[in-house]
């Protein structure tokens, strides 16, 4: 297991290098740079040239990549053109918010999708099952900007139940538990928006996985032992049916960050997704690179975590 882990972590290094090259190329291929969008007729064009020189934007892309890579490896993510602040400070200010949003959305996903999937699988092809299928299709196909706007319209604008922006009440002065509650109150709508697609997908997945497990011979064996349907469900069916969810968990850990870009922007929720969106609009490539790299690393770590979890819960899987 240890050698397996070391090998897996080592193979991440070339993967990250490759990802960084592709990302950097894509950023460079986009027309313009951080200063072309700020054009102001009152400012002399030579000023921009000076700034480009100062930030190294006039060097060749290859040179720029190596300068970026050298700094990045040393933990120096560069200076944001827009904020005139180190990117690492910008990220560390916001990453907590994004992680909070991500965790809440994961909890929401699992606590809703698994029971809904079980309901569906208990009575397949029933009215309840078809209703849930219908909602899942809608939820799965609705883009998050639309879902976010609809939720804001309904719950913030019409019903005035939930706030539509921020992470906490401005000037609320909450501390401890009440601060946590206030933050939860603010995170509910964005977290629900973010998890809508995973709730929809997971509950379908749980449903079919349970239906498949119910057909297995060992379920019949368990029933033949005299165990009741609910015990068989809990002890034999669910254990087997929920194992494949781990794969989805590993993949979606990274996707949470990606999905957060739109969601955080709509809810003006100050996380790194929103930072990323600003970064793209302003061609602020140190931000784009840093957040993309974090996102890529999360995907890789998520997959590694999924593989480790597999070995923990499924006795058939052992890594040499």
């Amino acid at each position: 297991m240890t050698t397996y882990l070391i090998r897996r972590i080592l193979t991440m290094i070339p993967m990250m290098v490759l990802i960084s090259v592709i990302l950097f190329t894509m950023v460079q291929l986009a027309p313009g740079d951080a200063f072309s969008g700020q054009f102001d007729p009152r400012v002399d064009a030579s000023y921009y040239e000076k700034m480009r020189e100062k930030f190294g934007l006039n060097k060749s892309p290859v040179e720029q990549y190596f300068i970026w890579a050298k700094n990045f490896v040393q933990g120096e993510f560069g200076l944001s053109f827009r904020h005139r602040m180190p990117v690492s400070d910008l990220i560390s200010d916001r990453i907590g918010n994004t992680v909070f949003l991500g965790v809440c959305s994961l909890i929401l996903t699992y606590s809703l999708a698994i029971p809904l999937g079980i309901f569906s699988a208990n009575k397949p092809y029933s009215k309840l099952d078809y209703t849930l299928t219908g909602f899942s299709f809608v939820g799965y196909s609705m883009p998050s900007f639309l879902a976010g706007l609809l939720l804001i319209y309904l719950f913030s604008f019409n019903l005035k139940i939930f706030p539509f922006s921020g992470t906490e009440t401005a000037g609320g002065g909450y501390e401890g538990i009440s601060l946590l509650l206030d933050r939860l109150y603010h995170v509910i709508l964005p977290a629900f928006t973010l998890s809508l697609i995973t709730i929809a997908g997971y509950n379908r997945f749980v449903r079919s996985s349970i239906l498949e497990a119910k057909q297995q011979d060992y379920v019949r064996t368990a029933r033949a032992k005299g165990l009741s349907k609910s015990v068989v469900m809990r002890k034999h069916v669910l254990r087997n049916a929920l194992i494949p969810l781990i794969t989805l968990f590993g993949l979606d850990l990274g996707l949470l960050l990606g999905g957060a870009v739109i969601t955080e922007t709509i809810f003006t929720y100050p996380g790194i997704g929103q930072l990323y969106f600003e970064g793209i609009v302003n061609r602020d490539y140190p931000i784009i690179m840093a957040v993309s790299m974090i996102s890529a690393l999360t995907v890789l770590l998520g997959n590694l975590l999924a593989d480790i979890l597999y070995a923990v819960v499924d006795p058939r899987i052992r890594y040499e």
């Binding site: 297995q216 060992y218 029933r223 034999h236 499924d314 006795p315």
Partner: protein, 329 residues
């Protein structure tokens, strides 16, 4: 205490689908005495597995017992509620299945799977259940029983898993063991070991066995009495020696002839022509008639009854039922 442990009277188990009802088991009557091994023989799809699932009360949702009774130890199982059946299953009636590779839960240890039945029915502590599990595993031939308890099914071979299944089924000392093709998925040497084990276990626990199989070799080895099923009906019933000496129904004869023999050198192995009719398009008259070499007009017109032709030997065939002017051709 009556001598009969299990009596099935006119059991009809039908499956219902959008396209209509399918009579998988169509009025069978059979009995199993205490300490007796009865073999239920027939081709795939003749209803023998559905019979066993009917006894267990584990029919798929589309299947339903529409008529008949299953008297086990004096009580009609057809009338029992789910909860009552749960108390019986795995306790008084146990079952082992054809596929030992998939019949055990891959993510639970052997110990957990044996112990859960013991704890459920015997209401004992985990420690006592554990001791019982070890005892059972030793009995079915695992010298290192304690270690096996914490192993997972994938660590065992097919034969070992079937031993575990037997240990699991017998742990509560059931009165009836239903074995649905217990050796079909195993290779021949392992088959012999498992059959031997089943015989030993039967002696030790004084259990009756309802053995479902299509393998006449297994029948000869294990059974006291044989019931031959065809297309949801019993076509012949006899003691094992009588049946092998005087197979009377043309179908039974066909089955006997299809077994490869070591003594005679045959050019080509005999096979009964045609296929088992699908239960939703059964022929009129005798269900075997379209495949029968001895069939005549009457066989296609009406269905024969099961008639006793010698003590303990019953056949469902017109060949043994004389009627004026209708001699076999």
């Amino acid at each position: 205490m009556s001598q009969e442990l299990l009596q099935i009277h006119n059991l009809k188990t039908y499956f219902f689908s959008d396209s209509g009802k399918i009579p998988a088991v169509d009025g069978i009557t059979l009995s199993v005495k205490r300490r007796e091994t009865v073999a239920l023989v027939g081709e795939s799809g003749c209803g023998k597995s559905i019979t066993s699932l009917s006894i267990m009360g584990l029919l798929p949702e589309s299947g339903k017992i529409v008529d008949g009774e299953i008297i086990f130890n004096g009580e009609n199982l057809v009338k029992k509620t789910d909860a009552e059946m749960e108390r019986l299953r795995g306790n008084e009636i146990s079952m082992i299945f054809q596929e030992p590779m998939t019949s055990l839960n891959p993510v639970l240890t052997i110990g957990e799977q044996i112990m859960e039945g013991i704890i459920l029915h015997r209401k004992v502590s985990k420690q006592e259940a554990r001791e019982r599990a070890v005892q059972m595993l030793k009995l079915v031939g695992f010298p290192r029983a304690e270690e096996i308890l914490s192993e997972y099914p994938h660590q065992l071979s097919g034969g070992m898993r079937q031993r575990v299944m037997i240990a699991m089924a017998m742990a509560t000392n059931p009165k009836l063991l239903i074995a649905d093709e217990p050796t079909t998925a195993l290779d021949v040497t392992i088959q012999a070991q498992i059959l031997e084990l089943m015989r030993e276990v039967k002696e030790k626990f004084e259990t009756s066995i309802l053995l479902i199989t299509h393998d006449l070799g297994v029948v000869a080895e294990m059974a006291d009495r044989v019931i031959v099923m065809y297309a949801g009906k019993v076509v012949e019933e006899a003691g094992v020696e009588e049946l092998f000496e005087k197979p009377s129904h043309p179908y039974t004869e066909g089955l006997m002839k299809s077994v490869p023999s070591l003594e005679e050198s045959q050019q080509r192995l005999y096979s009964i022509r045609g296929n088992v009719p699908s239960p939703d398009e059964l022929p009129k008259g005798c269900r075997f008639a379209p495949r029968c070499d001895k069939a005549w007009d009457r066989c296609f017109a009406s269905e024969p009854d099961l008639k006793e032709i010698a003590p303990g030997h019953a056949v469902r065939c017109f060949l043994y039922q004389s009627e004026e002017g209708n001699e076999p051709r």
